[in-house]
């Protein structure tokens, strides 16, 4: 018997390259992309300067007033006219524009980030669910949850009319009952009679407690709701409803919708974030839905379905990781858009409340003094917007190339 010594397991295959994850691969492609790196650096400069200024460079906007040095042109040296150096000049209240631009970045970037967060979380989840249930049938409990919510929502109308909030619970129960009926009884036309009748009785009888007319209206409404709930709503209809709602939001002119939301909430930076976030929801919902639809046709999803994996596991192990790249790209570009929209709202006087520095609001403040020739008061805040947005756009472009090398070919 010969002794065999094995070194390195005995196999040395030079063709196998070191193991790299998908994300590491993408990162290497990103680093190799010059324009993307420029974008990344620009973005980092803005983020670092804004957070640095916010935490370490004290600025009290309310106390910043110096009428002695108003509308001074940019200077790099100390002159008689301006005892201090203002490399970006000063505005109509004598405030140093460089200081306000750097501090304004904190507000503008924050608006962008929160707004994208709002649109991404709401729109992403809606799109994920509608795409998923459009291609994969709902199971019993998912159907149960959907029908209960749907029943409660429809019942809320009847409950509102009769001022009886308990009707919400009644109709939620009716929705839930429909799922049980569908599972345990034969599927014949009788269900329309049963559920229509139950709805009629629920609305009508509780309406009678208020008055005959209320009973009449709620009864008819209940009948309609009952008929609607008599068949459990499938994933396709659910997705359809969600997407139609998104269509309605999309068919509003985006700025008008944002302005209307701010008019409703009142001006302020936080309100602007919400407005821009809500307006952006449909974009992410549509993107997530279409990405899910294409991924869920893939073999690995079918395989996981056929071995009986739970829906949650299918969604988060197989689908979500595979739709991340378009969503990351869209979010980066969305940040650029959100910064632009925030600046637009600020410009219209609906964003940050003065004297709080914010790029759009600074432009809106100063452009009325345009005829005085104070170009610096509008040039620098504007450049800050352009460069930060450009940075995010470059980075987004690079990310797309890095995450989806097939496009490049």
């Amino acid at each position: 018997m010969t002794d065999i010594k094995l070194e390195n397991g005995g196999i040395e295959d030079f063709a196998v390259r070191e193991h790299r994850s998908l994300w590491l691969d993408a990162w290497r492609r990103l680093v190799a992309n010059r324009t993307a790196m420029i974008g990344l650096i620009v973005v980092l400069v803005f983020i670092l300067s804004a957070t640095g200024a916010h935490f370490f460079w004290e600025y009290e906007a309310r106390l910043d007033l110096d009428f002695g040095s108003k509308l001074l042109a940019p200077t790099l040296t100390v002159t008689e006219e301006s005892p201090n150096i203002h490399i970006f000049g000063t505005d109509k209240l004598g405030r140093d524009i460089f200081r306000r631009t750097v501090h304004g970045g904190w507000n503008s970037l924050r608006v962008g980030l929160v707004a994208v967060g709002i649109s991404l979380s709401i729109g992403g989840i809606l799109g994920l669910l509608s795409g998923f249930f459009e291609s994969i049938d709902m199971n019993f409990w998912e159907s149960f949850a959907l029908m209960t919510v749907l029943g409660a929502g429809l019942g809320a109308i009847s409950a509102w009319i009769a001022r009886q909030s308990f009707q919400i619970i009644l109709f939620a129960g009716l929705g839930a009952g429909s799922v049980f009926y569908d599972r345990y009884f034969t599927k014949n036309k009788l269900r329309y009679v049963i559920f229509g009748g139950a709805g009629l009785l629920m609305g009508g009888l509780s309406g009678l407690l208020v008055g005959p007319f209320v009973a009449f209206v709620c009864g008819i409404l209940g009948l309609g709701i009952g008929l609607m709930l008599s068949r459990p709503v499938g994933g396709k209809i659910f997705s359809n409803i969600v997407m139609r709602v998104m269509d309605v939001i999309l068919s509003f002119p985006s700025y008008l919708l944002a302005i209307a939301i701010v008019a409703f909430l009142g001006p302020g930076l936080e309100k602007g974030m919400i407005a821009i976030g809500v307006v952006g929801i449909p974009v992410y919902a549509r993107l997530a839905r279409s990405a899910v639809l294409s991924v869920s046709q893939k073999e690995y999803v079918l395989a996981s379905q056929s071995v009986g994996e739970s829906h949650g596991r299918m969604l988060f192990r197989h689908i979500v990781p595979n739709i991340l790249s378009p969503i990351i790209v869209q979010s980066t570009m969305g940040l650029a858009n959100a910064i632009l929209s925030a600046a637009a709202l600020g410009f219209l006087g609906l964003g940050a409340i003065p004297p709080e520095p914010e790029w759009g609001a600074m432009l809106g403040d100063s452009y009325k003094y345009l005829s005085s020739g104070a170009w610096w008061a509008v040039l620098f805040p504007g450049l800050a917007i352009v460069f930060s947005v450009l940075g995010f756009n470059l980075l987004g472009d690079g990310l797309r190339d890095a995450l989806d090398p097939k496009i490049r070919a």
Binding site: I161, G211, F213, R244, S254, F264, L390
Partner: protein, 350 residues
């Protein structure tokens, strides 16, 4: 085809109803009373009540459940929303609360201004975007391509209101070449036919008026055209790049066809579908983006008007304009879908 168009037109209706519902929901939610906004803080309660009565603002927004509880079925449905719908059926958009003029009348006057601005901007965007995209795709990875791509990225990143301000600064304040606002100089008159001033002045042979109108529209139109031009450039380029890799392009070149014929007859026609889609989306954005441009250039269109109306709680104006813009947006979408069939014989609708 005809049946498809009718079906699509019918499917517009539920979306429009959704839009009106959302408008009314907002109207109910937005704090502030239009009657108070109109009469001022110190108005007597009597006067406020009279205005509220006159414009139906004292009615509930959707349904009157109190009337129903008292047994008044007709009163139940007598809400602001139902009244609005009844008027809409007669194509009546209601009266402005502040100025007491029919909304439709002011709309007729102001909408052409926005339409003219959008049309000129779109033309500029197309004239720049499509040639730039084609040139950039056919000379891929050259300096020309690089310059085009960088400038289109800068264009996408440009806040149009800032660009507008910088244009005014340069051409109106420093060089004093172009006027900074309005559609016409005072003293210049154009006989109005369509209210599209450029068209009207040409139709009436008013050359002086045409030049004046052109001078006024050029800056706002360029500012508004920047983003669509940049987006169309990028879309045309990437779509052309896809098509140029196809076998039939190589075949066409191999046959000895000139580069121009290959580019325009073989490639562009096939690359145009995604471009059309983007153009459609941008057309909707143009109308909406007008809010900012019109504010800066004091352009008397619907953008500035509706902005003031939202802040002044003049609901009939907001309702009318939003509905109109949403309708145009949906119709443009339909036109885009139909143009697919016109451009690509493989696509049919039935």
């Amino acid at each position: 085809m005809g049946r498809y168009i009718i079906r699509r037109l019918i499917s517009v209706i539920p979306t429009l109803i959704g839009v009106t519902l959302v408008i009314f929901l907002f109207q109910r939610l937005i704090p502030g009373d239009p009657a108070v906004a109109m009469l001022g803080e110190h108005a007597t309660e009597e006067n406020v009540a009279r205005i509220r009565e006159q414009f139906g603002l004292n009615r509930p927004a959707f349904l009157d459940r109190d009337a129903l509880a008292e047994g008044d079925l007709a009163g139940f449905f007598d809400s602001q929303y139902v009244r609005y719908f009844r008027r809409l059926a007669h194509l009546d958009l209601g009266d402005s609360i502040h100025r007491r003029i029919p909304v439709a009348e002011t709309l007729k006057e102001r909408f052409p201004a926005t339409l003219e601005l959008s049309l000129v901007s779109m033309s500029i965007a197309l004239l720049i975007g499509i040639p730039a995209g084609i040139a950039s795709a056919s000379r891929r990875n050259t300096t020309l391509d690089g310059v085009t791509m960088v400038s289109s990225l800068v264009g996408v990143s440009m806040p149009i209101f800032w660009l507008g301000i910088m244009l005014i600064m340069l051409f109106s304040v420093f060089l004093q070449w172009l006027p900074s606002g309005a559609r016409l100089s005072t003293g210049v008159e154009i006989q109005t036919i369509t209210n599209l001033l450029l068209l009207d002045s040409l139709l009436t042979g008013n050359f002086e008026g045409f030049v004046d109108a052109l001078k006024h529209i050029i800056m706002p139109a360029v500012a508004l055209a920047t983003i669509p031009a940049a987006i169309i450039t990028r879309m045309t380029r990437s779509s052309m790049l896809d098509v140029l890799q196809e076998d039939y392009i190589r075949t066409a070149s191999a046959k000895g066809l000139s580069e121009r014929v290959v580019l325009f007859r073989h490639a562009l026609k096939n690359a145009f579908l995604p471009v059309i889609t983007i153009i459609g989306i941008q057309a909707g954005t143009l109308l909406a983006g007008a809010v900012l441009t019109e504010t800066i250039f004091s352009w008397p269109g619907i953008g500035k008007w509706v902005y003031d109306a939202i802040l002044g709680r003049d609901y009939p104006i907001v309702q009318g304009v939003t509905l109109l813009i949403a309708l145009i947006f949906l119709l443009v979408n339909l036109a885009v879908d139909l143009s697919y069939a016109a451009l690509d014989p493989r696509i049919t609708y039935d």
